[in-house]
Assembly symmetry: C2
Homo-oligomer: 221 residues x 2
Amino acid sequence: MQIKYSTSKENYLKAIFHLQQENKNVTTNALAEALQTKPASVTDMLKKLKEQKLLLYEKYYGVKLTAEGKKVALQIIRKHRLWEYFLVEKLAFGWEEVHEIAEELEHIGSKKLIDRLDDFLGNPRVDPHGDPIPDSNGKIEPFKQVALSDYKINKPTIVRSIGNQSVEMLELLKHKKILIGSKLEIKNKFDFDLSLEIKIANQSPITISDQLAKNIFVQND
Amino acid sequence: MQIKYSTSKENYLKAIFHLQQENKNVTTNALAEALQTKPASVTDMLKKLKEQKLLLYEKYYGVKLTAEGKKVALQIIRKHRLWEYFLVEKLAFGWEEVHEIAEELEHIGSKKLIDRLDDFLGNPRVDPHGDPIPDSNGKIEPFKQVALSDYKINKPTIVRSIGNQSVEMLELLKHKKILIGSKLEIKNKFDFDLSLEIKIANQSPITISDQLAKNIFVQND
DNA sequence: AATAAAATTTAGACAAATCTAAAAAATTAA
DNA sequence: TTAATTTTTTAGATTTGTCTAAATTTTATT
Ligand SMILES: [Mn+2]
Ligand SMILES: [Mn+2]
Ligand SMILES: [Mn+2]
Ligand SMILES: [Mn+2]
């Protein structure tokens, strides 16, 4: 409990956690890509993390977080998302600006700090991109969402989160006034390019590409 | 402008700045003591900082910050004190708890973050310990203060800052209800042990040791 | 001024995290 | 099921920041 790991190790655990969530066997190359480093460096670090029992690792086979490794990852993610919320809600940053700063803030150690921050912010459940914020014990409430590209037509729903969270994507959505919480409805699906005509509450209809629609997740209950 | 220095280098610059302020020639041993490291490590780092033109250093002689070195130090101090203010005023931490956390937060890079934080906090001029907060350009307003032990008798004044800021000291002051901004007056000076009898507004008179009085700084206009 | 003591620097080593180039293993394709 | 390709690991370096022990320089004392 509450051992301090290096920033680098925390980043590895977080990246492994995210890759595990999305799918599949977490490969050395995928980690190198995610962490902007070289495969050889990943192998080195995996050995160290295995040594510390933060993950299971057999060479040439994949890697899997232990309960402890998962716990650490979730604490980092909690911190990341709470700081993002703080930056947007209290310091008026745009949602496309906060990820980079949160990448630094998430490594600040104090547990008391983050719990106080959580209270100060009113215990938000999701971050500015709609991603769930783990509670103090690392628990996340799962929710039912679906990509807008897979959603039914003429059935109002609400934007819940964003897939690709690149700065470019977030700026585009800001421009199109598609925000977390926006109420919208698909009016038309065009088979030629799979583009969608959507209507956001109180706005005129707009067209969005399939690529965009695949990265907008909406409520599906 | 805005090159990123390592946490370690930032800490060296800050420590050198503080020692320079207090007095004298900044020695290798003094730095080792301040940074909780060994003199040999200090020498190593001084060479690197000289290389980067952050300070002037001739071996066996002292060390002195360049304008650039001073600028970096002041930015770190600005961040440290703004974060301390945030922790006390927004997250309800005690003034004895915040230094340690601010030691980490002060190394977060974003300039925009700190300027936004400054505005969010209402551009405070002093931190929770009464120390002045440099502005965005690194300027500090100097002010006229004197140790309570050197202050005149029967002349009301106001507590402005604290010298020794150890956790023990801050806890003692909290216990005695001596805070930044407290209005008080020396009622008696006892020659035997140089202890003082003081009266804080709306409280009964209390006695404080000379050691304590030397570390309480009051307005002197 | 010579000697002793203290402060500072150098030499050599180490841990953490990274890299490049080469070797080994696994996967895919012929 | 070989051969080619891709993935992963190993070997050996490098950088940053630190350390201990020994050498050097400065400062203080006789
Ligand atoms: Mn983020
Ligand atoms: Mn986010
Ligand atoms: Mn402090
Ligand atoms: Mn302070």
